[in-house]
Symmetry: C2
Subunit: 371 residues, 2 copies
């Protein structure tokens, strides 16, 4: 089948004339990394006069933004991150995309932006993934990372919610975020989000607030900040782009959704997989000092991060100022969960929870002629 | 003199060919409002390969931004707001611009962005103000509102500080932000910034976090949210774009710089003017309940907001849910301070603190031929 037929059933985006040529020219470089190589196409839907206009797939190119646009001054911007996997049968499958759609709209509401209809969100991620199908790298850990985002584009300097908003889907053929494990550093000074702030949604300001801590962490030779709660600086929250789990006395503990951490979709998947495996899971406030003591005593044998980008990545060191708490016994639990999760995502295992969202009739071998 | 000579002494920005024509065509509309009418020119300096490139004055136009740019996803953006006043002698004067420059660089540092050299910042605001000189409205309350801002433009999806950054100055011939007084509503639910967050610098995320509260406030028929501290929701902080003062038993009280509020330049000017007038000024934590009781007892006779945009604007009502606390006795103190401050800003009074920064040799009558 060809890509025209592919979109006949959905509110078909117009595919701009430049799209098929740029796709034809595109080749995957050897080294991918994470989020560095951009797909040569993008999807755009614009909200104008209170309604969504017909969407388009366009060649990836610089976008034109008024210098007074809300997004550039007041950070009126929301985003998501999800992955399209190419399975060994060459079919393409998204992982739990409706969860991203729901979270996107919770973020949009917090930012006073219009909800993106399911049809537009799904059409956007599906269109980009389908057109990119044959360029989706398919070795273990590889995928097409999809980045839906929306920006407020009204051009005036008063602080007010934008009436006009632009929704985009861009994408990057990527490796997993980090090979190996993370060395994390407890962030004792800054906070990424206030209680009553925006930490429980996926909006730009949270990430901007995390940059300075990230710089300190890197300067000290570590990978990631481990954030504490904003009220007491005492309970662990998450990393700047991943949730955190600890295996303590054989049970799996993770910070409860305090209101200032992001409800991760991978976090939810890990909780479900652990329960299915018969592991006790406990969502609660985790005092950093209690955790560090449990690491020292050996009661806490593993800590790991999880998120769309990092999937499941063990944490090998937690640093607190100059003190380092190390995990040396390997990560059998994280490794087992990683296998369970990636077997589903990458199409090797049974999809017991129905998490995969196969793109109808997208098969690289079939589409290779049409693009 | 002409505008070429004007810049001979400073690191002269290149004035693009389209600039003089758009300035010639520009006319001030009757109704200005605040931040709605944009000056037809802008200043741009780009930070590339670790250094600042030659700056340019350009016609105001949409800017080209990569869809993966940090500013659009991770809100790596900082801004300032200051005013250029046209005095009755037709000379143009900026108000305390070096304070904005210093704060801009504190914001930039918090966002892991490069410092903007004094020469570039001052050159930018001076060039835009000089070229716009004859279009600066000059009735009381009117000015050219200047908006320097900087955005991170690196195009990749990993969370990291941008190496390339673009600095702009745009401007808007404006009225004062609000005519009359503000009706404010205590925000009991949300917070605009965490302690250890970004509330003490001028970055987009703080303003994004304030939008939802702003929507509730407007729906209830009020103008502004009165924010409480992020840790206890108990001490008053500021409005979304202004600091707050209360006159209690003849002394002037304002929240101390807690780390989560912006150190306003108008706040500092008000403190200095009040001290000069022999009024006792007290910077401290102000419990909202204590304040409301003092309003009821009459010990607190006035509350007002201050900021570059609003200058000094009385607060006529503080609402706490359904309860309204009203000030009915007029605002003699705020009015007196307003006169002192605007007499300096607008060139009528003696500039005792040396706050005005006259633009050398910019006189509307002289330059009217050259632009
Ligand atoms: C702050 C933060 N926490 C956690 C996560 C993990 O969420 P998810 O598993 O849905 O990717 C992310 C990434 O999306 C994030 O940005
Ligand atoms: C949050 C906030 N508080 C206070 C102020 C007042 O600061 P300034 O007097 O320097 O304009 C502003 C505006 O700049 C602001 O955005």
């Amino acid at each position: 089948m060809n890509s025209d037929a592919q979109y006949a059933a959905s509110p078909a985006p117009v595919i701009a004339s430049g799209v098929l040529p740029v796709l034809k020219q595109f080749t995957l470089p050897e080294a991918l990394g994470f989020g560095r190589v951009m797909a040569p196409i993008m999807y755009r839907a614009q909200f104008r006069n209170g309604g969504w206009q017909a969407a388009q797939v366009l060649p990836y190119e610089a976008i034109s933004i008024d210098p007074a646009a809300k997004v550039l001054h007041y950070a009126q911007e929301v985003f998501e991150g999800l992955k399209a996997y190419r399975h060994s049968d060459n079919n393409v499958s998204l992982f739990r995309p409706l969860e991203n759609w729901k979270r996107f709209n919770r973020s949009a509401d917090r930012m006073c932006m219009p909800a993106v209809p399911e049809s537009i969100f799904m059409d956007g991620v599906s269109a980009v993934s389908s057109l990119m199908a044959k360029h989706i790298p398919a070795k273990p850990g590889q995928s097409l990372y999809l980045r839906p985002f929306m920006i407020g584009v009204d051009a005036s300097l008063g602080l007010a919610a934008s009436l006009d908003n632009d929704f985009y889907v861009i994408a990057s053929p990527s490796e997993v975020y980090q090979q190996g494990s993370f060395k994390v550093m407890i962030e004792r000074q800054d906070c990424r989000a206030a209680l009553g702030g925006t930490g429980n949604v996926k909006v730009g300001g949270n990430y901007a607030a995390a940059l300075a801590a990230g710089r300190r962490v890197q300067a000290a030779g570590f990978d990631q900040s481990l954030w504490l709660d904003p009220a007491e600086h005492r309970y662990i929250e998450e990393l700047s782009g991943m949730n955190v789990f600890a295996l303590i006395n054989g049970a799996l503990h993770t910070p409860s959704l305090s209101g200032s951490i992001l409800p991760g979709i991978t976090r939810d998947s890990v909780l479900q997989l652990a329960r299915l495996s018969g592991v006790e899971v406990i969502e609660r406030s985790i005092d950093i000092n209690e955790l560090l003591e449990a690491v020292v005593s050996g009661e806490c044998s593993e800590v790991f991060a999880c998120g769309t980008a990092a999937v499941i990545t063990p944490i090998s060191i937690i640093a607190d100022g100059d003190i380092r708490y190390e995990f040396k016994a390997g990560n059998p639990f994280a490794t087992q969960l990683h296998t369970l999760l990636t077997d589903i995502q990458e199409g090797r295992g049974e999809d017991v929870f129905n998490w995969n969202w196969p793109l109808t009739d997208v098969n690289v071998l079939d589409t290779s002629d049409s693009v």
